[in-house]
């Protein structure tokens, strides 16, 4: 049995890609439109159809209330986390959200959680891969920002499951990029990967040694990227429009989206030109224009890109390295195309950074390399192994509200810690543990991961039970917890309340619901195919009517064919592919005699010395009976 294909997926804030190791090189799998990038935009059209990617982009402008972008910013987050995002992004959240509940975003009159929306993007990538291989792909490696916390990782894994993909591994984006770069890298060196994408920033420092890619430190900011630069420019445009023209268009989602589009174009232009013009059409035939120079742009974005400096310095400190110890600095993410960003990286590491590989594609290519390693490896990858770290410390809340760290940040994963707990009250049978992630001293300043309730502790005097709890962070950076009471040797029952995130049951339901969309996809395709076939049939019938054989049919036969044709044309307008197919079949039967006579006359004219070309079988489907035509050939 051939090993199952495992694809690598970069589920990005702005764009997503799927890649695969073709022989010894990773390649990006293009979509049906021939493009490598699938914009991470999802829309629900008026017919209730989910639309993803380039096709969904026009919905952002035309029907902004039915479309969503940058949903990655909401993955694994709660209502109270996203207040700042809501001011800048047109996310339309469901009104009835309770604190701590997984967010739901409105598309038209329906609501979807961020993992479900990400699943739509993943499903589109899966479709592209299915088409490419002409076989279904069910296993994938998906990349996440290195600085993603447990909840954000879990949400990404859930998205994969909902999309019908078994997620074999979550790989950190900068690490994945280093794998793509490291394919040809045989010598030992220390590499810094500076990854500034659409919505997230990561810095990872790796030691490369004989195929081992060992991350020594990582840091970042999961809410820092090109989006923040766009928002600065959008704010300026909105202020200008209000100031100069006197109308506030902030509430007009269509115009805001048009401005956003223009701003992104201007930003991109400024990477190669010294100046550009921001140009937006406004209602009432007016337009807004403003010239922006690169110098102005650089001054404007300085505070944003400066936010990457702290994490870089911290990562170097954690790695115990100085800038001069770094042999290579690698640029990843679309925002590293900005010259000022490159200059900053050069200043930070005192060397010209590398950007040989397309910064939009390198993460997906690296994910494909990792997928190849997981599937057993090939000649190119057989020596390669990735040793990644956990980006954030794991801790337990102490009684006073402090944090006792049990696994420190930058520990190689998988990593584990055993902690012992006891009871404080006579006969106490459960103990609650609050697990947090982060570097701060107080639990309230850290990210709450989950509350674990250890149950079924045998009643004993206070302080006597010894409960051993094992915390294990797996290779995906996701926490697993198990517990045992040591005196009785009994496995404790653990009830987990994730602070944010979907329960298993919710994910299962979403998988079931997703089948509806999958079925809808399937049905849509069937309808399209049946209609195409019907068109072919009707074209052939038109030709048949011009054939002398048509006149030789009895008027009753001709009447019958006309009736069947009308029936097919009527049913074609409906979405019932089975009805279309049966109408085609009946028409097929009804035109059998005509087809036979056409064939006979074609054959006899050939016998009379005419060649096939002049025998009026015509080109294409000459006979209304497709099978008959095939027999002539």
């Amino acid at each position: 049995m051939a090993p199952e294909r495992i694809v690598g997926i970069d589920l990005g804030t702005t764009n997503s890609l799927v890649a695969y190791m073709e022989g010894e090189r990773p390649v990006v799998i293009p979509g049906e439109d021939g493009l490598n990038l699938v914009p991470s935009v999802v829309a629900l059209d008026e017919n209730g159809q989910i639309i993803v990617g380039n096709a969904a982009r026009k919905h952002l402008i035309e029907t902004p209330d039915r479309a969503v972008y940058s949903v990655k910013r909401l993955m694994g987050r709660g209502l109270e986390d996203v207040q700042d995002e809501l001011k800048l992004f047109p996310f339309r959240l469901a009104e009835d959200l309770a604190p701590g509940e997984v967010l739901r975003i409105k598309l038209g009159d329906k609501t979807f959680t961020p993992p479900e929306i990400s699943a739509f993007i993943l499903r589109q990538l899966k479709r592209n891969a299915d088409r490419y291989f002409a076989a279904p792909v069910t296993k994938a490696v998906i990349t996440v920002p290195a600085y993603f916390n447990d909840a954000q990782r879990q949400a990404t894994k859930d998205a994969g499951r909902i999309a019908g993909l078994e997620v074999l591994r979550l790989v950190n984006e900068p690490t994945a990029a280093s794998l793509a770069y490291g394919l040809d890298q045989k010598q030992s060196e220390t590499v810094a990967v500076y990854d500034l994408g659409g919505g997230t920033f990561d810095i990872s420092i790796l030691k490369l040694h004989e195929g081992i890619f060992e991350v020594v430190a990582t840091n970042g900011d999961t809410h820092l990227g090109g989006d923040d630069i766009d928002n600065l420019l959008i704010t300026i445009a909105l202020d200008d429009i209000q100031g100069d023209m006197g109308f506030d268009v902030r509430r007009n989602a269509e115009i805001v989206q048009a401005i956003r589009k223009a701003v992104i174009e201007a930003k991109i232009a400024l990477s190669s030109n010294e100046k550009t013009v921001l140009d937006v059409e406004l209602p009432g035939g007016k337009s807004y224009q403003r010239e922006i120079t690169r110098a102005q742009f650089e001054k404007l974005i300085q505070p944003v890109i400066e936010r990457t400096v702290g994490p870089v310095k911290q990562a170097l400190k954690d790695a115990g390295l100085k800038p001069k110890d770094i042999n290579e600095a690698v640029l990843v993410g679309g925002s590293t195309r900005i010259p000022r960003v490159r200059q900053l990286v050069e200043e930070l590491f005192e060397r010209t950074p590398h950007s040989d590989l397309n910064p939009d594609e390198v993460v997906a290519l690296g994910a494909a390399v990792q997928a190849n390693i997981l599937s057993g490896g090939s000649e190119a990858t057989k020596e390669m192994l990735l040793l990644d770290v956990t980006p954030l410390s794991l801790g337990i809340e102490s009684l006073g509200g402090g944090v006792v760290k049990i696994i420190h940040r930058n520990s190689t994963i998988p990593a584990s810690a055993n902690e012992h707990f006891t009871t404080g009250v006579e006969g106490q049978t459960n103990v609650a543990i609050h697990v947090v992630q982060g570097e701060r001293e107080l639990a309230k300043d850290c990210r709450s991961l989950a509350r674990f309730d250890l149950k079924g502790i045998p009643p004993m005097p206070a302080g006597l039970p010894r409960i051993e709890v094992k915390f294990l962070i797996d290779a995906n950076g996701i926490l697993h917890v198990s517990a045992r009471e040591l005196r009785s040797g009994k496995e404790s029952e653990i009830e987990v309340q994730p602070s944010y995130g979907l329960t298993d049951e919710q994910v299962e339901n979403m998988i079931l619901e997703s089948f509806d969309y999958a079925e809808e996809d399937f049905r849509q395709r069937q309808v399209m195919e049946a209609r195409t076939e019907a068109e072919t049939m009707l074209t052939a019938l038109e030709k048949g009517r011009k054939n002398p054989a048509w006149q030789q049919l009895s008027s009753q036969e001709r009447g019958n064919i006309n009736k069947l044709e009308t029936a097919l044309r009527a049913v074609m307008k409906e979405d019932d592919y089975q009805a279309i197919r049966s109408a085609i079949d009946v028409l097929n039967q009804g035109t059998m005699h005509l087809a036979e006579m056409m064939m006979d006359s074609a054959v006899s004219s050939a016998l009379k010395g005419k060649d096939m070309a002049t025998a009026d079988v015509g080109e294409g489907p000459a006979s209304p009976h497709p099978i008959a035509q095939a027999e002539i050939k």
């Binding site: 591994r169 004989e210 006073g400 006792v404 998988p414 584990s416 010894r466 290779a475």
Partner: protein, 259 residues
């Protein structure tokens, strides 16, 4: 699990000096005699056996350690035990790989750093270090109190003076006053303590040599008195406690100066 505190450890004789060698077993898959974590013959991951970190790496309980060699061993074992290498194996093998590689990573992380290595060995020897012992942590968690700190006797006078200065500095900052000479005094004290702190590595490494020599002697069949071992052990505990105390103090000074 030894419960004894280091104060009364002298009477309890909980020293662990001889390592338990994991029993040799046959590879579950090919039947060959196996190494501890994976089969040398067929490469398959073996079910995890609970062993301490030294034993996991096949190392004696010694504190001088060649980290380059440890790193090579770590990479080698990673190539067999990491979940990525075992991603398409049976569910059981994947679970073992996860367990084995997390143990490997924990062991490597603990042993590569000289301080955590020493603390770990002391813990194996039944010591619960005052500062970072699990008991102290547990106690703090239970009572909600800040971990108590015992001032090492040699530092008593200096620390008393310093704490007064720190308190004064905090008050100044609160009132928005600037006292340059006090700031300078604190900077000087910091430099002095930092030197002392750095010098402690030498003190500590001297105790390692003593400890390791005892291990060597006993391996060569000589008798090493428990009392002698305990003396070295307690010396290490004392240096570490002093070092930790200084570290916290330096941290406090930084906090006050930077605030």
């Amino acid at each position: 699990m030894p419960q004894t505190k280091d104060k009364n450890a002298k009477d309890s004789g909980i020293l662990i000096v001889s390592q338990s060698k994991p029993a040799k077993a046959n590879c579950w898959s090919c039947g060959a005699m196996r190494a501890a974590q994976f089969c040398q013959q067929c490469g398959k991951v073996q079910p995890p056996v609970p062993v301490d970190y030294f034993t996991f790496f096949g190392l004696p309980y010694k504190l001088n350690l060649e980290t380059g060699k440890l790193e090579r061993e770590f990479y080698d074992l990673s190539r067999h035990l990491h979940p990525d290498i075992n991603a398409i194996k049976s569910e059981r093998e994947q679970a073992w790989a996860l367990e084995q590689s997390s143990h490997l990573n924990d062991a490597y992380r603990t042993l590569k750093d000289p301080i955590t290595r020493t603390e770990y060995l002391l813990r194996l020897q039944g010591v619960q270090l005052e500062e970072q012992s699990k008991a102290a942590t547990e106690e703090a968690r239970r009572t909600g109190q800040i971990k108590k700190q015992v001032v090492p006797p040699g530092l008593l006078e200096e620390v008393f003076e310093l704490n007064m200065q720190l308190e004064e500095m905090r008050m100044n900052k609160k009132m928005g006053e600037i006292d340059r000479s006090l700031e300078r005094e604190l900077e000087d004290a910091k430099k002095h303590l930092q030197d002392k702190y750095d010098g402690m590595m030498q003190e500590l490494s001297a105790t390692w040599n003593e400890w390791d020599a005892q291990v060597d002697r006993s391996e060569q069949g000589e008798t090493v008195l428990d009392e002698d071992r305990l003396t070295v052990r307690d010396k290490m505990v004392e240096v570490l406690n002093r070092r930790n105390y200084l570290r916290n103090l330096l941290h406090d000074i930084d906090e006050v100066l930077e605030s």
